[in-house]
Symmetry: C2
Subunit: 144 residues, 2 copies
């Protein structure tokens, strides 16, 4: 086995495990609010970026269109978001945060920030930046 293949394989395992472990830790508290990771992703996206269509959301949180329908359905049932038809192009539906949804995300997000920072505190600031940089190089369609 070539050396590059070997270190790539080992790094793959570490990357996937680190990602799993971090994701589990930082999303655990969502259960207290009955939210899935995807539901939180939707609320967070429209809270920070404003209302957008379902397909935009799908791209944003990397889930299939069909799945987003279910996620939005469930958030809508609980009154955290609402669907608003776009009158200019009636194919589009804008997903809008309700007051109830805004209240919720404003409770959860500060906790989330703290938990994430805590989880990354085993790395120095330089290491966190470096890790982000390497992930950006490795990923596709990455945020800046």
């Amino acid at each position: 086995m070539s050396k590059l293949e070997e270190i790539s394989l080992k790094t793959l395992v570490k990357l996937l495990r680190a990602s799993d472990s971090v994701s589990e830790d930082v999303h655990k508290h969502l259960k207290d609010y009955g939210l899935t990771v995807s539901q939180f992703g939707v609320l967070e996206a429209i809270y920070h970026l404003g209302s957008m269509s379902q397909s935009d959301i799908a791209k944003k949180i990397l889930k299939s269109e069909a799945n987003i329908v279910t996620v939005i359905d469930n958030l809508e049932k609980r009154g955290f978001i609402k669907r608003v038809k776009n009158e200019k192009d009636r194919r589009y539906i804008n997903i809008v945060l309700t007051d109830k949804g805004k209240t919720l995300i404003e409770i959860i997000f500060p906790q989330h920030k703290k938990i994430v920072a805590e989880r990354f505190s085993c790395l120095s600031e330089e290491e966190i930046l470096l890790l982000g940089d390497l992930c950006r190089k490795l990923g596709k369609n990455m945020p800046k």
Copy 2:
């Protein structure tokens, strides 16, 4: 928002996206063989480490005990592994690779290595090692 919180959040997003993107790319070819990622993980684990119990496998591939039962069921149905009762401690079941399973993994694994190395080729050797190191620091129960 504190600076450390901010860079931690951004790095979290990059880590999860990179991991998703890489995982999708390097596991795509498994569908050609009708294998799920978990099924491949089981075959690969017992191919390289020898037969082990279901609970060992669960720890190894980071899935729940209950899920491993299903994964093993499906691999067994297709004749890639078999269950062998451990006679010394009858609570344990050893999962053993069959000849058919060995043939399969010996076809898939070399392809897998190549695909992974190819996927990491946007990074230099030093960067891959560095990424692995940072992930190891960040994760829990990480391989060396």
